[in-house]
């Protein structure tokens, strides 16, 4: 996506209260990266609410600035389009996450529980967690309505058959840092190949071989 970042910075130059060392260009770049990662990763990734909140804050700020411009001002249209495009990034990102939450709701909530027990960082934001709980309840209620007519039914079946993401699916990635000795999971126990990843290199690989690298930003998906 081709964003005219100079123009953006003009809009935001008198923004004193955003107390970060990031330029807006860097922020948008990060937003793009987490968006693409979320889009191509088969499972849900740790939430990046700090980036999302920052971007949303900037959108609000820019829109307020835009409202001070005259309607006839040619610049207004250009800036409005930029704001719209940034908003698309955020909404598309959030939609991706919702879609995954809905599809894998039982699986994701179970993983979140385990993370909470181990004291690890949770992947869902609070709002997402709430949404997931309600979604799960709704589905359970609906299924119970359907199956309540047959007492003595073996219900354990669907409760144990969770819909899980296919973490063996293949992804394209681009490396940021140097990573040595990545074990390529071939699906078999024997003959696991090992590969070194150089900064800037691109490859196609099964997602489960690089899960950790994606999550700690050594590589990003493309």
């Amino acid at each position: 996506m081709d964003l005219d970042t100079d123009e953006l910075e003009n809009l935001m130059e008198d923004d004193d209260d955003v107390n970060v060392q990031l330029t807006s260009a860097e922020l948008i770049e990060m937003m793009e990266e987490i968006w693409v990662n979320e889009k191509f990763a088969p499972e849900i990734l740790p939430n990046k609410s700090e980036i999302v909140d920052c971007v949303l804050g900037q959108i609000n700020y820019m829109e307020r600035n835009l409202n001070t411009l005259q309607c006839t001002d040619f610049k207004k249209g250009i800036h409005q389009l930029e704001v719209d495009r940034i908003r698309y990034l955020v909404t598309s990102y959030l939609r991706q996450r919702l879609e995954k939450i809905e599809t894998y709701v039982f699986h994701i909530l179970k993983q979140e529980e385990q993370r909470a027990e181990r004291g690890e960082l949770l992947y869902l934001t609070e709002a997402e967690q709430q949404f997931a709980m309600k979604y799960k309840e709704g589905l359970k209620q609906h299924f119970e309505n359907v199956t309540s007519f047959y007492p003595g039914l073996p219900v354990e079946d669907w409760r144990n058959q969770l819909v899980v993401p296919n973490i063996h699916s293949f992804v394209f990635l681009k490396a940021r840092n140097n990573v040595e000795g990545v074990v390529i999971d071939t699906g078999r126990d024997d003959d696991n190949d090992v590969v070194d990843i150089n900064p800037g290199s691109q490859m196609i690989i099964s997602y489960n071989s690089v899960v950790d690298l994606v999550k700690n930003s050594d590589v990003h998906l493309i």
Binding site: K100, T103, Q161, V164, N166, S169
Partner: protein, 200 residues
């Protein structure tokens, strides 16, 4: 904005339910009282040990795996050696649809009844070679419709999504703009309404 993923059936997968309805030849190893009606060829109340019957794969899998299996499943003929030889020679020349609607899905279930692994090998061999052909097909937008009829369901789905993305790519290259469209279900809804109105 559906989630994109490879074919990865879960408990609720319609495709998997349809595929597991396919029947495979089985031989009963135990007497099954009262269930003679499973065998349409006889009127007896009990099903006798030694009976040969074609059972849907969902049932065959369930009752062939325990310590005291009720049946012994056999490979359907299209996965047996004679047919495997045909596929080995030139998988692209085969009308896979005639082999079975769910050739790969069924194959990946019955491959466990073939301990030597020949079925697994032939599935991969067939898919790899035919996949190339499918990709070639999508390049010719106006292709011969009879070719598509020779694909099994999995291949048809691959062909369809490959074809769709091809069309999208071309239209994007031509106008470099994605037109805003009415939602797919809204369009369908309108169409049906029109049909209903015509009837009235």
């Amino acid at each position: 904005m559906p989630l994109q993923s490879a074919y990865y059936p879960d408990y609720y997968s319609i495709d998997d339910i349809l595929a597991t309805q396919e029947r495979i030849p089985c031989k009963f190893l135990q007497d099954v009282p009262k269930l003679g009606k499973l065998n349409p060829a006889t009127e007896e109340t009990d099903l006798k040990s030694g009976t040969n019957l074609e059972l849907p794969i969902w049932l065959a899998l369930d009752i062939s795996t325990s310590r005291q299996p009720i049946i012994s499943p056999d490979l359907p003929k299209v996965y047996k050696e004679a047919y495997r030889e045909i596929l080995k020679a030139d998988p692209c020349a085969v009308d896979l649809h005639k082999f079975g609607l769910h050739f790969y899905e069924l194959g990946s279930y019955v491959k466990k009844f073939d301990p030597r692994g020949d079925v697994a090998d032939i599935l991969i061999h067939t898919f790899t070679l035919r996949f190339r052909q499918i990709m070639d097909l999508t390049d010719n937008i106006i292709s011969d419709p009879t070719v598509v009829q020779k694909l099994d369901m999995l291949e048809r789905n691959i062909f369809k999504s490959a074809h769709d993305s091809k069309v999208k790519l071309i239209s994007w290259l031509m106008v470099s703009e994605v037109p805003l469209e009415a939602a797919s279900m809204v369009i369908n809804h309108k169409k049906r309404k029109r049909v209903d109105e015509d009837i009235i």
